[in-house]
């Protein structure tokens, strides 16, 4: 029986889809069978980020309206053996699916995969409610900006109200140079307000833009720092203790970073 993880944020554009694609691919590289679901109906992106958009025949709305079987809608990724995508519909909107339908769908997929990862849309309305229905746990993605943290706080409150307790935090698009200059929020301030445990820090990386345009997840690129960070997150999801990346060559800063994070589960 697999685990269902929803990747959410509240704020748009912080990296949920990128995280879903990369963490999904990363888990596959670690030997798991993974299904990633795009729950952003009407504004689908996960297929583009994974480079699978030309292979879509059926989508999530077809599945819940019983227009097709689940297996017909799942797209098998040829680069990552074990990765499957259930795409969103582009011509419908978020009212096309109900939370109950999501629960039914997700329960069926749980039987067939080690991990089911749901890419949640931005916002707190129907799309969000659909995405979290049936999830076992949540990862909250944010960037080190006040507006993103404000929205993340709201989302964490809503997750806790929906009994998805102990969500874990991923801080994305960190620019260490700006943090050092005091121009970007540091992780400690964010943890102070959000009060949840950290599971990953991903640096801002040009490769993400390039990879997205090509439809290639970062974890496929051995060199990219962001790819390494996502792989580490995948390992931590599986329960491994992984040291946080040295995002900066400055030893004393890394030492400080080590003290701030906590490792265990």
């Amino acid at each position: 029986m697999g685990e269902v993880i929803v990747i959410t944020s509240g704020k748009g554009g912080v990296g949920k889809t990128t995280t879903t694609a990369n963490v999904g691919a990363g888990l596959v590289k670690l030997g798991n069978k993974v299904c990633v679901i795009d729950a952003d109906i009407g504004l689908r992106n996960l297929d583009v980020v994974l480079g699978l958009e030309n292979r879509i025949v059926y989508d999530i709305v077809d599945v819940v309206t019983k227009n097709c079987r689940i297996k017909q809608a799942l797209i098998k990724d040829k680069r990552f053996d074990g990765l499957y995508l259930l795409p969103a519909a582009q011509t419908k909107d978020k009212d096309a699916v109900t939370p109950d339908q999501m629960v039914e769908l997700v329960n069926e997929l749980k039987q067939l995969h080690d991990y089911v990862i749901i890419d949640c849309p931005a916002g707190i309305e129907q799309g969000f409610k659909n995405a979290i229905a049936g999830a076992d746990r949540a990862l909250v993605v944010t960037t080190p900006e006040i507006s993103a943290v404000r929205d993340a706080d709201r989302i964490i409150g809503l997750l806790e109200a929906a009994e998805l307790n102990d969500p874990l935090l991923i801080v994305n698009r960190v620019r260490i140079d700006m943090v050092k200059r005091g121009e970007m929020m540091n992780i400690e301030d964010m943890k102070d307000i959000l009060a949840i445990d950290l599971i990953g820090v991903v640096p801002d990386d040009e490769n993400v833009v390039i990879g997205t345009n090509r439809g290639e997840p970062m974890v496929a690129n051995g060199e990219a720092m962001s790819g390494k960070a996502f792989m580490n997150i995948a390992q931590r999801i599986m329960g491994e203790e992984v040291e946080y990346l040295d995002l900066d060559l400055n030893d004393s800063f890394f030492g400080k970073l080590k003290k701030v994070f906590n490792f265990g589960k």
């Binding site: 404000r150 706080d153 964490i156 809503l158 307000i193």
Partner: protein
């Protein structure tokens, strides 16, 4: 036609003269009207008795409530001038009035106690005081008719004395509010607040909100 009742002046004070034929309710209404019109005239008078009617216990209380309760007149006696024994002396009547007042008293105002951090989007209200053991994050709001105490960091919006209370205070371990309101005054944190690491209390002094260290 005679009035249902009248105030009769005597050398000792004022007597209330009832006309036997009329109903008590009518008489009371009439007296009330008279007092409302010329309260200044009757203000310092002393009611020393009643004539022309044998009042029941209930009627006595009603009369007392109107004379003393509504108009603040001094009532030394509502006895008949015929010197009848009455168990309803003014002091007994006062006791009854007191008990009646207590029973209709205002409902107890409950204060609210919250033992967790309030996240963005959460709003907590109180008709009394409000205590939070936890933080109040930006985007959260705490509103109380009374005082607000936060054993944590206040980063959201707090409004104390929201129903009109200039004496209400907002206290917090770390006072870094987005906005602070007491009664009808609004203020916000000064730009450079990070240096302060002790508890503070916000109060109204001289018509504006000031923040003092707790101690």
């Amino acid at each position: 036609m005679k009035n249902p009742a009248d105030f009769k002046g005597t050398k000792n004070g004022i007597q209330i003269q009832f006309n036997e034929t009329d109903e008590f309710d009518k008489a009371i209404l009439f007296l009330r009207e008279k007092l409302t019109k010329s309260l200044a005239f009757y203000k310092d008078a002393e009611i020393i008795g009643v004539e022309g009617r044998k009042l029941t216990e209930r009627e006595r209380v009603a009369l007392y409530l109107m004379l003393d309760g509504e108009f603040g007149l001094k009532v030394s006696s509502l006895d008949n001038s015929e010197k009848e024994e009455s168990t309803m002396t003014p002091s007994v009547i006062e006791k009854i009035v007191e008990v009646e007042k207590k029973e209709v008293a205002a409902p107890k105002i409950e204060s609210v106690f919250v033992r967790k951090t309030l996240r963005s989007g959460v709003s907590v209200k109180s008709e009394g005081d409000l205590v939070v053991v936890g933080d109040v994050n930006p985007g959260a709001e705490v509103i109380a008719a009374g005082n607000i105490v936060i054993m944590g960091t206040l980063r959201g919006v707090a409004h104390a004395g929201c129903k009109g209370n200039r004496n209400a205070v907002v206290a917090a371990n770390k006072l870094l509010p987005t906005q602070l309101r007491i009664d009808t005054l609004i203020t916000r944190s000064p730009e450079d607040e990070e240096g302060i690491h002790y508890p503070e209390v916000a109060v109204i002094k001289d018509g504006q909100i000031v923040i003092e260290p707790y101690n």
